[in-house]
Symmetry: D2
Subunit: 338 residues, 4 copies
Amino acid sequence: MIVDMRKGATPEEIDGVVERARSLGLDIQLNLGTDKTIVAILGSNTGQLPTDIFAVLPGVENVARIMKPYKLASREFKAEDSIVSINGIEIGGKRIVVMAGPCAVESEEQFMKAARTVKSSGACIVRGGAFKPRTSPFSFQGLGKAGLELLVRARERFSIPVVTEVVDTHDVSQVSKYADILQVGARNMQNFTLLTEIGKSKCPVLLKRGLSATITEWLTAADYLLAEGNSQVILCERGIRTFEDSARFSLDVCSIPVVKKFSHLPLIVDPSHAAGHYSLVPAIAKAAVAAGADGLLIEVHPNPKEALVDGLQSLTPSDFARLMKELRRIAKAVGRYI
Amino acid sequence: MIVDMRKGATPEEIDGVVERARSLGLDIQLNLGTDKTIVAILGSNTGQLPTDIFAVLPGVENVARIMKPYKLASREFKAEDSIVSINGIEIGGKRIVVMAGPCAVESEEQFMKAARTVKSSGACIVRGGAFKPRTSPFSFQGLGKAGLELLVRARERFSIPVVTEVVDTHDVSQVSKYADILQVGARNMQNFTLLTEIGKSKCPVLLKRGLSATITEWLTAADYLLAEGNSQVILCERGIRTFEDSARFSLDVCSIPVVKKFSHLPLIVDPSHAAGHYSLVPAIAKAAVAAGADGLLIEVHPNPKEALVDGLQSLTPSDFARLMKELRRIAKAVGRYI
Amino acid sequence: MIVDMRKGATPEEIDGVVERARSLGLDIQLNLGTDKTIVAILGSNTGQLPTDIFAVLPGVENVARIMKPYKLASREFKAEDSIVSINGIEIGGKRIVVMAGPCAVESEEQFMKAARTVKSSGACIVRGGAFKPRTSPFSFQGLGKAGLELLVRARERFSIPVVTEVVDTHDVSQVSKYADILQVGARNMQNFTLLTEIGKSKCPVLLKRGLSATITEWLTAADYLLAEGNSQVILCERGIRTFEDSARFSLDVCSIPVVKKFSHLPLIVDPSHAAGHYSLVPAIAKAAVAAGADGLLIEVHPNPKEALVDGLQSLTPSDFARLMKELRRIAKAVGRYI
Amino acid sequence: MIVDMRKGATPEEIDGVVERARSLGLDIQLNLGTDKTIVAILGSNTGQLPTDIFAVLPGVENVARIMKPYKLASREFKAEDSIVSINGIEIGGKRIVVMAGPCAVESEEQFMKAARTVKSSGACIVRGGAFKPRTSPFSFQGLGKAGLELLVRARERFSIPVVTEVVDTHDVSQVSKYADILQVGARNMQNFTLLTEIGKSKCPVLLKRGLSATITEWLTAADYLLAEGNSQVILCERGIRTFEDSARFSLDVCSIPVVKKFSHLPLIVDPSHAAGHYSLVPAIAKAAVAAGADGLLIEVHPNPKEALVDGLQSLTPSDFARLMKELRRIAKAVGRYI
């Protein structure tokens, strides 16, 4: 950490910072500038210390971190790319892994149709929500346990792994029996009790970025999962909230190279929630693959007009099939395949 | 809802929208402009319908809401101001209610000191966290049940109600035995299972605004609590995330008149989390009272330099005493008192 | 426009809205809902009227636009894609047009080297700033007229068109003698006197998106140019300001399909200013091409370490050559070429 | 500046940074941590150097500023509050200075009425725009020179200074003959040629914050004015662009204590442009005074329903008179007067 003293800070104030650092077992180095004094606080664990413990001291103007607040998710901790393997499907390797399916499991007929169609177009994991967190209490909240059972039926019938969201700490053990990957939704990215429980479950997990979370906060949330010994963590960019309202969220495409630079974890992109409208999904799905994403999470519904949730951002099976062809060409252009 | 058809939409496409509306029991009225057709969909429950069910139909360009998505929290539903009463302390009435105390309950000595000092300066509710959601898994996570017991001890010793955060659905019944007001933190504003559980508890609740939630989403989250029959809902503005980084968050002071215009619920402001730095707290606390807030939630620590959590944004007891004097003058200037 | 009356609005208030619309020569249609009255205001020029003229009337709750505030830039005005042709190089056609060069013209040696190297790698337009708007008055402000002369020398020597920024209304006629394309920087997107002057000049223009401009505002700014009879307008997405600070700006990749949906104008992307760091440029340049951009504007410097401006976001000639190879593969994958 | 080397940076890379610093005449101090090396670069002018010159060197991970990029606007440069005096009216002193009037000068009758009414309610400076930068080319653009002449007529008739916007560099000398204060609009905050010209004019200037400018960028823009020797600079907060859309912009009330902490310049607040709706103006005007603003800039129109520009955010004369009474009470509560 770099502690920047106010201009005119007294020797006693500078000593106060030095003392506090030493009391925590940290080394320090003083930089006496002509205008200001800077105290550099050294030690490999300073990333885990709150900056407040120095910022609150008299005479301190600002405290800046050098070490990042996350550790286990960082490339400094693990240099080579991590691969999460689900029944032999490797996420984070050369293959671009496409996960697709409806937002919510609505009925047996709907979900089996969806699973068949996405698999036949080349998706290798099927998605479907059984528990739906909805912004309005008057909206459809998902089929719950009956939905989980339909997930399992599709998994067995089509030999395809399933990913589904878990929204309550106390559902983790139940849902992890049904699902191959647990999804943590954007609104739960900093639900730390949920993260800790999923961390303990050791079940593969898809951690969506919070809609106003910085990349640093996102990787720090991943540390919650990793700290419990769960190394099967997949990150998922799904758009951030900005002033622009022509799409539901603004896909932060630059988060792809940033995450790849600072973290070893695999990263996929959800173009459907970012766009909010089916007509915008193909362009940003292609952008994500070109920018280096390891996979995609795409909403596909057999009949979007009748969807109970998020029909507007769902592709029809034929639009999805066409997109998959285009994505294969992009994947090849960046030296990968689908 | 207003359904705006694409220029050149066919009669069949327009009929499709009309049919869908009628199948839902809604009235419609057609507006045939020279360039575009607009279908107005009428009915008092259209606020609860997702716009997607029309937006997904062929020929539709855009769908705009007329009715708001929230209902129970709206002034249209209840015209007069709601008052939440805690042991005779009315929140939403003429008195500005100041809640103060440390971010976290750290020890008996710390918390008793804090409770005594804030009460003596005029705060009428004491705050203190027993369960702390922290962005890093390596930070202090709160005293848990031992913290709750210290809350109760302070409540009895100083005859002052207490407010504390609940972070897990399954802790609601336990925490509501100890606390007078349950706090829902910003990161849990859309944790709908938690909201539903607190709604059922009927315990007074402080609903913080999510750090990137619109006011509409915030009032819709309040509907989750109200829909379960819990009418003791207090809203709390605590700053939103923007590009400006000189304070931790940007206090949305304009949310005060906006909430007062559209909702009957009482509204308080947390200047401490918004500011992130003790030196900025007094100015925005005074602004909040001047703008019409019904109360404040302020962090005060007997010794901020030694605080385990958020010391930088905590006032010292003497700074708090001085601020309370200034706030009393502002309250008087707007026809209220503290 | 849709005028949404307050619940309980009086007949007089509704009449007030109707009268005002009729006084402006507009048709209206009343929608009398059970809860609310809605007045639909019809006419093809309502996009150019400010919503305020109705919003300010008594009894009005909200006014929403149906017609967009821009007209000439819209696809409704002109359905087929526009192509801007510069010395036979078509922007907006099948070819992806890459413009590259240093942020600022610094010296003859630097600029000739840059022009030669970007042309040899396949760029077909060279960029270089002679007038530099800088956030600090203590920074290098550009070579001015001497810079313009170096641009012309490079243009002649390497037979390559040049693009350069104009920052002052009164420089337009001078700069348009030297440059093939005038660039309007992000901070000038709503400098309407400058836009009007460039509109009159009829010189091809590159209109950068303002760093906090919505797409609607950007297309409305383009209308300023088009309204003066200048149809040679190229749009340039260069990142928007959000809370995320790992890159200098957040490239709004979704603006590409949105602009293509609503406008006929060609659109290029500047990955350099968005990223702010050379290591992030290639990923987002590839994303832009995959998402449908018609071209790129990339900063390349013969020796970024010695650059006077924006060295950190400049590619070296060899990094640029490598990127161009990768971009060619992506262009081919989306049915285009470089 | 603090240069943070990548983990494993070589001695040659560290030397490269040291050499570059020394070549610029700067002192350095090395901090060799267990994990990373940090190079502290010392010298009082480092605030004016771009961080890029070090960030671009091999082995560098990050560069953080210690010195702020602005200098003349900083409290470190001038500790005591600056006061701008306009015909004996002091801005930045104990009096809260209220500037009021219509957005645009529309006609003699309208403007004289407005000037008379705001003066009689206690405003001591009158505002009115003659040149209007409008987002749409189809909107009213102001009366131009005829508007300036009406400003002068009102100034003489009512003995009240006037403030008006200047939008073109080449109008500065003309407008400064008519106006007592030149206003730089939010969209021109970084129009550096305009700032330089106004700086040279030595005319008192009101510098509005750009709608997506950080406070640091705003104070750096003020340095452009101050660097030309114009010390009569008044800052004006007018709301920033965020995701919240219930008001036109989000008033950043916390910018008030932040500016007061870091700068000596007087600061006023424009609640009208922030709110965008007359019903929200009083609450945030009161908040601004309570938080420590030195004045207000409020839109008042004799008949908002007929206003050509921004009628929705204009107060009527009677609403303004009522607000002034409330503001006087708040001013007194914070030890000031109006």
